[in-house]
Amino acid sequence: MQEFLQQLVGGLAIGGIFASLALALVLIYNAMGLVNFAQGEMAMLATFVAYALINRGMSYWIALPVTLVLAFGGGIVIQRVVIRPVEKAPILTLVIITLGLATLLNGLAGFIFGYVPRSFPSAFSAQTIDLLGVFISYRDLGVIGVSGLVLLAVYLLLQHTTVGLTLRAAAHHPEASRLLGVQVSWMLALGWGLAAAVGAVSGIMVAPILLLEPNMMQSIIIYAFAAAVLGGIESPIGAVVGGLIVGVTVNLAGAYLPFVGGDLQLAVGLAIIIVVLIIRPNGLFGRAAARRV
């Protein structure tokens, strides 16, 4: 029982990381009906930026916000340079472009930082505390706390600020929003910037666990896909719940299902994607939207 609870908390921590990346995917999906295949690589590159900053002697708690701001700017630049020229292109074109972007960013990271895995500092110690007989590491608690904070910040921004309101309006009703003076194209760029920053948090949280290298996010993005699909790809709350469920499921499956073990955890992610898409394509929180033809 005690071990089970420890696995559960570990799952929630890793699930919080998935949730951040899934939330980034949902933000871009809502802005333009697109799954951003480059989201993981964008987060990876941002993590490298944080690494470089910390390596140059910047303190962790300053490097973190600086990185988020840089990621935000980077997301905007990417939208302006790469996505905007094809804004009205068919969805297949856009998907292929984000894939190209993923490949490009992966190569760039390898080009600049090399492929040797590096250890990334964590702000929280790996020591454990005893909570009612369950040993939980500060690191897990910290990751849960930071993820929770990010998700709360995004929620407040979207639901309780004017910028968030115009962002949502531009995403769902571009034509009507334009007639209300909303600068829709910039709102899309803002959405990309926001997604990049939120995704960056997941990269920075996962790097101490996985070691930092250009392919670090390749498995995390699959879990994030699973989380987003499970939650309903247009629902921010769904992304969070989906992320936590996927994290716990993967952790428990790895610990208790002998045939899964460590090496088939990723296959659990794939299985979640496929099962959800076949049984309930709208996910847990998605509305049964009319199928687009």
Partner: protein, 363 residues
């Protein structure tokens, strides 16, 4: 007969010249280069299959590397565990993969284009770890090492008669790949010119309209998946043959990306496109990784990172640039150039006869 050949349109002449070129090619290049071109042909087969799925039926698969892996392992397991002749396993691998693809196409029907891309991408990422698991069957991380076949006597003597040198195993494998590529090319060409091709394009351009004109949407979409997977399966089996081994890491997600690059660069929904795209996608990383380390003025450290990261950077940049500036790929560019040139030439001729060139907007 002679009359027919003489009257054949220039397009057929071009096809003839290209085929002759590929047949004669190994006699003038080294055995090693022949094996590289065999790899490019294999890639071309897989890309042809992907092109039928993406270009003609409009379903985006980012997981075609997984189908190649299935074909390769089917062939390798049959040859290694069941002692079958490696060449004879190729059609079996193709058919099995095709069937799996067909079955895969049924749930894919329910998915939107985006979800399909997402699911197939996840499949491509997970494939290597799925292969490793049944280690008794697949050889686990080590994979399976295969013995490559020697050229049979008839090929030996024909080759010796023509060139006066002995045929190597690599050259024989090249011809097997060429043979498969030509047959599959011919098949694809017939497919898209006839009813199934028209139906698939109609579906791609609008399912509602296609259904209204009586096209069996579910049937053709799953058919496209099946055929496409069949091509990938053949390509995978040939890959096992040409490489002489299979292992989980020969089928990383970047293979699926490479296939997509080839399809997009060559030109989606075109028949010659995959050939051009394959040559490009296969030789670009090889050439760039050979060229850079050979330049003495580039420091070693930079050279080695370029060697590692170069292909990804160029692939990524090229995917983006092509999609933005030339969504129809090389074939689209060539076609545009040809039309422009033709108009130029005709325009010049028309000036002499005093006729107006055709209105550019109606061409």
């Amino acid at each position: 007969m002679l009359q027919r050949i003489r009257r054949a349109p220039p397009r057929y002449w071009l096809v003839g010249v290209v085929v002759l070129f590929f047949i004669g090619f190994p006699t003038v290049i080294s055995s090693f280069l022949a094996s590289e071109w065999a790899q490019a042909l294999i890639l071309a087969i897989a890309i042809m299959g992907l092109n039928i799925l993406v270009g003609y039926s409009g379903q985006l698969s980012l997981g075609h590397g997984a189908f190649m892996a299935l074909g390769a392992y089917t062939s390798a397991i049959l040859a290694h565990r069941f002692k079958m002749d490696l060449v004879a396993t190729i059609p079996i691998a193709g058919l099995l993969t095709g069937m799996v693809g067909f079955v895969f196409g049924i749930p894919a029907l329910r998915l939107s284009a985006l979800y399909l891309a997402l699911a197939t991408f996840a499949l491509a990422v997970v494939t290597p770890s799925l292969i490793k698991r049944p280690a008794e069957l697949t050889g686990g991380v080590q994979g399976i090492i295969l013995t490559q076949p020697d050229p049979p006597a008839f090929a030996q003597s024909a080759y010796g008669f023509l060139t006066g040198t002995a045929m190597t195993s690599d050259q024989w494998i090249y011809y097997i790949c060429l043979f498969c590529a030509l047959i599959l090319l011919w098949f694809a060409w017939n497919l898209v010119r006839h009813r199934p091709g028209r139906a698939m394009r109609a579906i791609r351009d609008g399912e509602v309209a296609a259904a209204a004109s009586g096209v069996n949407i579910a049937g053709y979409k799953t058919l496209a998946f099946g055929i496409s997977a069949f091509y990938a399966g053949i390509a995978g089996a040939l890959f096992a043959l040409a490489a002489g081994f299979v292992s989980p890491d020969t089928f990383p997600v970047s293979l699926s990306i490479q296939l997509l690059v080839g399809a997009v660069v060559g030109g989606l929904a075109s028949i010659p496109g995959p050939l051009l795209g394959a040559v490009f996608a296969y030789f670009l990383p090889i050439e760039s990784s050979q060229w850079v380390p050979n330049q003495s003025w580039i420091p070693d450290q930079i050279a080695s990172t370029v060697k590692n990261a170069g292909p990804a950077v160029t692939y990524g940049a090229i995917l983006i640039l092509i999609m933005i500036f030339a969504p129809n790929g090389i074939v689209g560019l060539l076609h545009r150039g040809y039309v422009a040139l033709n108009r130029r030439l005709r325009g010049a001729a028309d000036r002499e006869t005093g006729q107006m060139p055709p209105n550019p907007q109606t061409v």
